[in-house]
Symmetry: C2
Subunit: 209 residues, 2 copies
Amino acid sequence: MIITKETLFNYEQRYRTQLVNSLNGYKSANLIGSQNKLNQSNLAIFSSVIHLGSNPPLIGFITRPNSVPRHTLENIKETGKYTINHIHSGIIEAAHQTSARYKREKSEFVETGLTEEYIDNFTAPFVKEAHLKMGLQVKEVLPITTNDTLLIVGEIELISLPETCLETDGKINLELLNTVVISGLDMYHSTKKETRLSYAKPDLPLRVI
Amino acid sequence: MIITKETLFNYEQRYRTQLVNSLNGYKSANLIGSQNKLNQSNLAIFSSVIHLGSNPPLIGFITRPNSVPRHTLENIKETGKYTINHIHSGIIEAAHQTSARYKREKSEFVETGLTEEYIDNFTAPFVKEAHLKMGLQVKEVLPITTNDTLLIVGEIELISLPETCLETDGKINLELLNTVVISGLDMYHSTKKETRLSYAKPDLPLRVI
């Protein structure tokens, strides 16, 4: 079936939101930890975390502006530091629960049962239960004017991961870590390897590696 | 183990690239179709396609600037139109092969065996073999100055999908479409549903829906 822009516009709002949220394919599943200058911690689930570049090592995510309370964004603006923690199959419910609108004085860590962890004097809270976690320093806050959202660009300063998941060529075995993916707004999936393919060149057949 | 920024910087380049490309978690797997004013078509794989908003329906992706030949970006600047096509398990090899550096006069459609399709007078080429595909109009090209990349923001103008994958609340069943995900630079995975959870509220337990 074909859905035009006009048809989409006329759909009921929640129906359209569910539909459009499925259109880019699967999304990464991460928890972002932060704190304000008073050391009040915050933890929030994000499905928009993307790779931006390897040298310098940069990661981005999308957020709405501060026009509504966005504690993650406020904290990042205040302190510059935040953490990104992979959601694995063992912490899906607690991770999802961080999306509830808790008041400023409540910490999602306390409310969801996830544990704050501090590593190597890095000043933002990691998720102890996560297997792969990173500490970042914000580099850019880019306004996307078309829909008044922001792209937050951060540089990776610290990575914590189990050595066993690191393969000989530097690739991380995400299946070993049980890292999950999100579809739409609220569905979580584990993954199963289909194939790994060699670097593609014109006129050369691909190899399974 | 802990990897600091300094350790990461000292890793051999390919090792670092593999590692950092695994850090955001799984990535969406899409083919972007475009053509220039002479109707020369182009098809390229992207793992950076993200949801930006539902109203208006916006999707973003990251690309390097035109300093090296980037036919997708050149075409989008020339015509404003492009398509995003989900990669499913049946077209992984052809999709991966589009990443080879073909010369301008070669079309990745011809070289990889994927088929150009034109829908409803939309002027950019879709991938006939894809199950879910969208036509977009570019709205913004945002420079990310930290590493000289670009965020391309596009509005969805047309969606083509099998009616059977559309659930009653608007969510798309991506597993029914065999849409795959990418980890690192070159590994492809299918998915298996773990759970779907209700909208989270403070002090209310989550329900599996």
